[in-house]
Amino acid sequence: MSVLSVQDIRVRYGSFEALRGVTFDVQGGAVGLLGPNGAGKSTLIKSLLGLVPLTSGHFNLLGKDSRSLGPGLRDLVGYVPEREGLRPGMSGVSWVALLGELSGLPRRAAVERAHEVLQYVGLEESRYRNAETFSTGMRQRLKLAAALVHDPALLLLDEPTSGMDPVGREDMLELCRDIVRLGKTVLLSTHILKDVEALCDQVVILHKGQVQAGVSVEDWTRSEAQHFLVQWEGDGKAEAFLQACQRAGWSAEPRKDGLFKLVLPLGEGPRSVFRVAREAGGAVNRFVKEETSLEELFLSALQKNGESHAGL
């Protein structure tokens, strides 16, 4: 059973359609939600929380239809907003306990639970401090604690590491990994692709309100074109090697350091590179297989759609 099954969701703001038939399935674990600015990521998260009404479509959460759950579905979901979202003047523990109570926990249980989750996120020593005095990293942890206080099955994290220093970011990602290990599902919306690479095993790429791609990072890496860095030396000019590559139907790009960046379609490998090098009247002196980063995959997914990625 899918933890989250989104079926043809559409959201319209007046004449603008923010989500245009979004469909994807989340089986569990950590899922990255990627997309340029204005792709509809925040709208999707708010739709899943019921904060933005759906124009059409629906989603199932833990097998239950969102339309039948009503506001009660938010007991199953924890939300870490991108924006500040803290009430000035309240201590960390009071704030988390209040949100626990709003999720239905009795007062005493909410306070106890607030202490537990604040300890879990590493804020046990600062829990009585006014949340206004917290650093950016502490605020992000506080928001995570608030999202966990009612023990939800699904966590929606909207830019949880934004504004954090590298150490804090790594700690936050480690917390998220631990949450996934506990069996909770995490939907991570972020601009930081390294966070997605570090945490997620599935990616949903949104673009202009539509799902551009939705596969596991591993499968996608395997299915995509292969990238090589090649040093070619021969009698003729480098142009000869470039032309031979183009004849073979590859993308070849000379770099300033004298190397060529080759992109080969699936099925062709190092042997083909050596063969083409010989045909161009030279030989390969250096050969490096480049790992395809999520960033490249993400950009290529957008470029396939003929769009620029200036919004990133």
Binding site: K46, L98, S103
Partner: protein, 292 residues
Amino acid sequence: MPVYEQGYETYGGPRHPLNRRWLPLFREEVLPYFRKRMFVFLIFLALVPWFYGVALTFLHTQLGDAESFKELVGKLPVVDEKLVATLLTNGYDLFLLFIVAIWVGSGLVARDRKDMTLDVFLGRAMSSVQYLWAKGAALGTFLLIFSMLPTIVLVIFQVGLTGDVGWLFTHARVLWGTAFYTLVGPGTLVLAMLALSSLARSPRVVGLAFIALVFFGDIACGVVYAVTKVGAVWFFSLSRELMALASLCLGVAAASESSDLHPALVAFFFLALAGASVGVLAARFSRRGVLQ
């Protein structure tokens, strides 16, 4: 200590039903005001005229039969519908009522928008209606201190000091009239403040807008009345409408000729204000514009 060694406990305890989720939010809206000395002092000031009402009852019962005071006490008003209408809507108390409405009401939704906590609250298992109910109930609680609560206390003193339970029946309108006034007058004020507060991100802007509507509205009506001498111009004055409503609810003549609004106009005013407020709230929350 690495975070993953700190442990995470799942929660399997009880949860309150959905219809009780608004209560903590209501509590968090109300309690902080009682920690503000200035606010408590303001509430005390608002109750001063009601102490006068209690004192009147005391004087009538304790000194009314004494020969030396009989004449003097006889000139003092007794606790009845007219006195309660005066206590409810005298200029002093209305001014303080508006101050409290601005102090508490301007931040109801606007503060959550400013602090960006609105989607955090609405992201919990609580409907928009419950959220608004919690916020409205908080302001309503304070406005009850200006209307229903002191009336009940006054009635308790009246019956307790005189020992005359029959007073409750002869002056039953004091209670049900005040209840109806509270429901319609301060109740509409709560709706209006909620609507106004949902339109802005800054409580200060909401407060200034309310001041502009109420106080400058009164001044404008006063100027027009001075020229035309037509009582109906007070239709646009919230304070005069409240005075007229109290007079109608308690079945007494208007305190002044200029307050004598036609009952149909009063009913239309409060219906229109409540309707417009509900319309604004419905539009802001159903289309989620309030989250922007």
